[in-house]
Every structure is written in structure tokens, then in C-alpha cells.
């Protein structure tokens, strides 16, 4: 398996990253270099093995915790927006998306 520059463009678009052409080319070489060590993984027979998401599931049943669907946060808008790039009247500003 070897990624082409078209593959890199497609993935960069999915990842919402602008890559300059030299950067994209270096990225292509490095990711392909990495995938040379991934091949060993493909040869492993994993028939009947359950994928593991929470590691402690190796020894016990782990349920992801749910909490009651109730408001438990105070209104903290000012603090929450203090690091926003653009705010006006308590709203986050973004470029126009609907004509």
C-alpha cells in the first residue's frame, strides 16, 4: 500500500487541513514510511476476537458511565468565551454560511 499525492489531498480535505505542496509531499513520504511497519498487523489472524475500546475490559465488564440528563453547570458564558477568537454580544462569530 502506498498513498499517492491525490490520496494526501483527499485526506487533508477530510481533516480540514491546508497543506502546501512541499509539506504534502513530505507528509506523503512519512506516512508511507510509517505504513511499512503497519503491514505486520495485517498478517495477524484476529478471527473471533472482539475489538477492545476500554482497556480494563480485558478483566471485567466496563460500562461507560451515564449521568442524569439534568443541568449541572452554572451559566458561565463570559469565562467560556474569554478565549474565543471573535465574539459579539455573547455570540461566537463565524463567516457567513447561509446566503
Amino acid at each position: 500500500m502506498s498513498l499517492t499525492s491525490q490520496d494526501i489531498d483527499r485526506i487533508a480535505n477530510l481533516a480540514r487541513l491546508t497543506l502546501q505542496s512541499a509539506e504534502a509531499e513530505r507528509m506523503r513520504e512519512q506516512i508511507n514510511g510509517f505504513f511499512s511497519i503497519v503491514e505486520a498487523m495485517q498478517a495477524v489472524d484476529t478471527t473471533g476476537i472482539e475489538p477492545m475500546a476500554h482497556p480494563v475490559a480485558a478483566i471485567q465488564d466496563v460500562q461507560l458511565r451515564l449521568r442524569e440528563d439534568v443541568v449541572n453547570e452554572p451559566n458561565n458564558r463570559e469565562a467560556n468565551q474569554q478565549s474565543a477568537p471573535a465574539v459579539e454580544r455573547g455570540l461566537f462569530l463565524v463567516p457567513k454560511v447561509i446566503e
Binding site: 498513498l3 490520496d7 494526501i8 485526506i11 487533508a12 477530510l14 481533516a15 480540514r16 487541513l17 491546508t18 497543506l19 509539506e23 507528509m27 512519512q30 506516512i31 514510511g33 510509517f34 511497519i37 503497519v38 505486520a40 498487523m41 495485517q42 495477524v44 484476529t46 476476537i49 472482539e50 475489538p51 477492545m52 475500546a53 476500554h54 482497556p55 480494563v56 475490559a57 480485558a58 478483566i59 466496563v62 461507560l64 458511565r65 451515564l66 449521568r67 449541572n72 458561565n76 469565562a79 467560556n80 468565551q81 474569554q82 478565549s83 474565543a84 477568537p85 471573535a86 461566537f92 463565524v94 463567516p95 457567513k96 454560511v97
Partner: protein, 487 residues
């Protein structure tokens, strides 16, 4: 009073503060002064006013007889933990100037135990790296040899402790980021069982692997901090386990007679440096003198842990880091034409190259048509790796081996070869994938007189046992007491 403050352990500082031998303010002033003169580049943020205010509050609690377990003892926080009183960057330009509206749970718990924050410590950008060279604000120098890396990603934490700038620090370990820098800087660090210490407010890299833990000079100090850090965080962290906090100092002195230490043959193969091996063998010999027996074991999928980890972690990272879109926080590009170009340019400008590489890799392995072959296959092998450990623990109580194949490398040595860094993680990744507790304890010195750590891996929830083994080793050796020249 002969020992200077910065040579004291957490335990000694806590005792001196309680006995009013010195005040929290005096201690804070001393360590802030050391941080201001820091030559290693360990700190990303200091705020002496806040630190001294916290110390003053500690002094008031001590005077009122309301001192917490670690009242007035200073520490630094890895800059991956969000803090209200200090900026948080995660070592990234993306978060330059970011101020969190809340404290991470671990930051809060350590403050509740009385600890005083000296500042925020450098790390690889979003904890992605093994040498702290991926920090957007510059590399950190290893105090043992300033031309070498301190390890990563908790490199600032390890270097600051080795340089006696703080007695303890928080770190996070996703694939070895507490253990490996601890080994490279000659200090002690433990990553508890995944889920034992809250991830709330720890900026997410790979959620199914990320785990915070303490770093300090001694196992006893790690035990003191870990006791304050663990316990369920039911409302804040959905993967936090219902396992109660524990006094990890209780069994530090337990006898090692009869302890079975598993020695995985895959950790002692040809990739292991002879110098590292000699130091590790020396520590193991010391443990046998203390009554332990060595049992040969096998962790047959050790090598596979590299591709498995470097599929799973980037996949989760690509999802976690999608939140950095230049809208609610973080960097926003100056020039853009529409929303999509704003996202793309903001992310391209804000992220460094290793972060972009992992986002790209993760996006690819999760994309349509590739998910089963890569991510799902990796998760299945992850279970096999976890099962291998359970088989091994049938024959032994703890597992021991090297932390890394070699001592700390030269700054810039792996700059054009990211895969070289990945391969060097081989001995720490298996325990990370299995979610097991692991630690690094100073075992001696290798090439160029650089520190070497012994890795100890325990079964789930056996942190106390690891700390016990490490503590007994430290009572029989003095590697953890050695100081880099000029410190």
C-alpha cells in the same frame, strides 16, 4: 536544618511544613526563584503572584490546624492539564494565550490536598512525541546533558524535577509519556491503571489511552501524590472507574520475599542497548537480593504494539482534535474566504507538523473503506495484547524490563525520521494498550553517563505493589538521589 529546600523530597517538605520548620511562603519563594532561573526551558508559564497567594492560603490553613495531606508542597503541572490561574497551551501555537474557565480534576484534587502550583511545564504538542522536541515553544534540555532530550511527552515535568526546580509534577502517559521521560531524566514516575485518575480537564490526545499520573524523585513521593489523585470522577469522566482512592503509602515497606518478577524475553532482544541492559540487570539483581525471584515470561506481541498504538492513537487524536476549528477557542487564521477555508487555514497554522501527521494518519485509517482493515484490526490485536499480559500474570506478580532501548538521544537527532521516535516506544506501548499501571524507577546510568530507568508493570489496580517494589529498590540503591552536575 542542613538540607536545602530544593533537595528535599515531597515527604520531607510536607513534614517540615507541618512542623512549621519553614512556611509555605518561604518554600514557594524558593521554588519560584529556581523556576525563574531555569536553564532547561521546562516552564511554559509562571505566575509568582498566584503561586505566593496559594502559599499564603496554605500557611493560613496550617496555622488554623486545617492542613491537607500535602499542604504547602509545591508542584508543576504538565501544560496538558487546564488551569484557571495559568495559561494552558498543550505545547501548541493553537492554544497560545488560552485561559481555561475551569481546573482539571487532578489539578483541583492536588490543590485540595494543599499543593501549591509553581507553573506549567513544557510538553510535546498535544502530548504527541517522545523527546519534547515537538513543543511549539522550543525544546527542553535534559539536565544531565543539555545537548540531549529529556524524553517526552512529559519532558518539562521530568527535567524540572531532575533540575530540582520542583519536587514533583503531574504528567500524562498515553504511550509512555510519564515512564520514558522519567527514565531519561533519572526520576520516578507512575502511570496508574487506565480509568483510575480522572481525565477531566486533561486535553485529550487519545482518549482510550490517556492517563495522568505523578512524577517525583522517589517512589514514596509518587505514592503520596497518587493517593491524592485517584478515585472516581463520576460526573466528569465517563471512563473513570468505580475504584476508590487508596493510601498508596500503606504498603511501601512490605517485604519483597517471594515476589515473582516476570522478565519478558521480548524486552531483552537485540534492539536493547548493552548499556541499558547492564543497568536494568543490575537493578533486577538488587531486587533478587531483596527476596524477589525472576521468572522468564513472554509477551509475544510486543513488536506489534507499535503499529497498533500508532493506528489507534492517531485515529482518536484526529477525532479529538477536530474541536480546534478557530471558532470557540484557539487560533484563527487572519485571511480566509469562507467557513471551510477558515477551518483549514486556522488548523494548518495552529498545528505543528507531528500533530498534522497524526491527524492525517488518523483521518485516513478511519475513512470509508479503511476502518476495518486498520482501526478495527488494531483494536482486536489490542485485546490480544491485553490477554497476553493476563497470561503472563498467571506466572508472576509484576513484570520488569527496560523503559526504552537506549538512553536519551541528542536534540535534533531524529528530526527527519518520525518513525525512529515511534520505534523507540516499543517497551512502553504494550502496557499502555492494555491499560495497565506502569512506572519507571532509576536503575543506574548508561552510555554518556545518562540515567536509565527500570520499568515495572503491574496488573490492574496493583499500583501499590509497583510502588512497594520501587520503594524497596530505592532503599537499597541511591540512583534516585544522584544529581546532575551543576544543579
Amino acid at each position: 536544618m542542613t538540607t536545602v529546600l530544593h533537595d528535599m523530597t515531597v515527604a520531607e517538605l510536607a513534614a517540615g511544613l507541618k512542623a512549621k520548620t519553614f512556611s509555605a511562603t518561604e518554600v514557594a519563594q524558593h521554588f519560584v526563584g529556581r523556576a525563574q532561573g531555569d536553564q532547561t526551558g521546562s516552564f511554559l508559564a509562571l505566575n509568582p503572584e498566584t503561586t505566593l497567594a496559594q502559599a499564603k492560603a496554605s500557611d493560613a490553613r496550617i496555622a488554623a490546624g486545617q492542613a491537607g495531606a500535602l499542604e504547602g508542597v509545591p508542584l508543576g503541572h504538565k501544560d496538558i492539564f487546564v488551569t484557571q490561574d495559568f495559561p494552558t497551551t498543550a505545547g501548541s501555537k493553537m492554544l497560545e494565550g488560552y485561559r481555561s474557565p475551569f481546573d482539571a480534576t487532578l489539578v483541583r484534587r492536588l490543590a485540595e490536598a494543599g499543593m501549591v502550583t509553581v507553573g506549567k511545564l513544557s510538553c510535546d504538542e498535544f502530548a504527541m512525541g517522545s523527546g519534547n522536541e515537538n513543543c511549539a515553544y522550543g525544546p527542553v534540555k535534559n539536565p544531565w546533558d543539555t545537548s540531549r532530550v529529556p524524553g517526552g511527552s512529559s519532558g518539562g515535568s521530568a527535567a524540572a524535577i531532575a533540575a530540582r526546580i520542583v519536587p514533583a509534577a503531574t504528567g500524562t502517559d498515553t504511550g509512555g509519556s510519564i515512564r520514558q521521560p522519567a527514565s531519561f531524566c533519572g526520576i520516578t514516575g507512575i502511570k496508574p491503571t487506565y480509568g483510575r485518575a480522572s481525565r477531566y480537564g486533561m486535553i485529550a490526545y487519545a482518549s482510550s489511552l490517556d492517563q495522568g499520573g505523578p512524577m517525583a524523585r522517589t517512589a514514596q513521593d509518587c505514592a503520596l501524590l497518587l493517593s491524592a489523585m485517584c478515585g472516581p470522577d463520576a460526573d466528569r469522566d465517563s471512563t473513570s472507574l468505580d475504584v476508590p482512592a487508596e493510601d498508596f503509602t500503606a504498603s511501601l515497606n512490605a517485604d519483597l520475599k517471594g515476589l515473582r518478577i516476570g522478565i519478558p524475553k521480548e524486552f531483552f532482544g537485540e534492539g536493547l542497548g548493552a548499556d541499558v541492559r547492564a543497568a536494568v540487570d543490575g537493578a533486577l539483581a538488587e531486587l533478587t537480593r531483596l527476596g524477589a525471584t525472576l521468572v522468564p515470561i513472554s509477551l509475544p506481541r510486543t513488536e506489534l504494539s507499535i503499529p497498533v498504538y500508532y493506528i489507534i492513537a492517531p485515529a482518536e487524536a484526529s477525532s479529538n482534535l477536530s474541536r480546534f476549528d478557530g471558532v470557540k477557542f484557539g487560533h484563527r487564521a487572519k485571511d480566509y474566504t469562507d467557513l471551510e477555508s477558515m477551518y483549514k487555514k486556522s488548523r494548518a497554522e495552529g498545528f505543528g507538523s507531528e500533530v498534522k501527521r497524526r491527524i492525517m494518519t488518523g483521518t485516513y485509517v478511519l475513512s470509508h473503506g479503511y476502518y476495518d482493515a486498520y482501526y478495527l484490526q488494531a483494536q482486536k490485536i489490542r485485546r490480544m495484547i491485553a490477554d497476553d499480559f493476563q497470561n503472563a500474570f498467571q506466572q508472576c506478580d509484576v513484570i520488569a524490563g527496560p523503559v526504552a532501548p537506549k538512553v536519551a538521544w541528542k536534540l535534533g537527532e531524529n528530526a527527519n525520521d518520525p518513525v525512529a521516535d515511534y520505534l523507540a516506544d516499543i517497551f512502553t506501548l504494550p502496557a499502555s494498550l492494555a491499560g495497565l499501571p506502569g512506572m519507571s524507577v532509576p536503575a543506574g546510568f548508561g552510555a554518556h553517563n545518562m540515567p536509565v530507568g527500570l520499568q515495572l508493570i503491574g496488573n490492574y489496580f496493583k499500583e501499590a505493589q509497583l510502588l512497594n517494589v520501587a520503594h524497596r529498590l530505592q532503599q537499597a540503591t541511591d540512583f534516585h538521589l544522584r544529581k546532575p552536575e551543576g544543579i
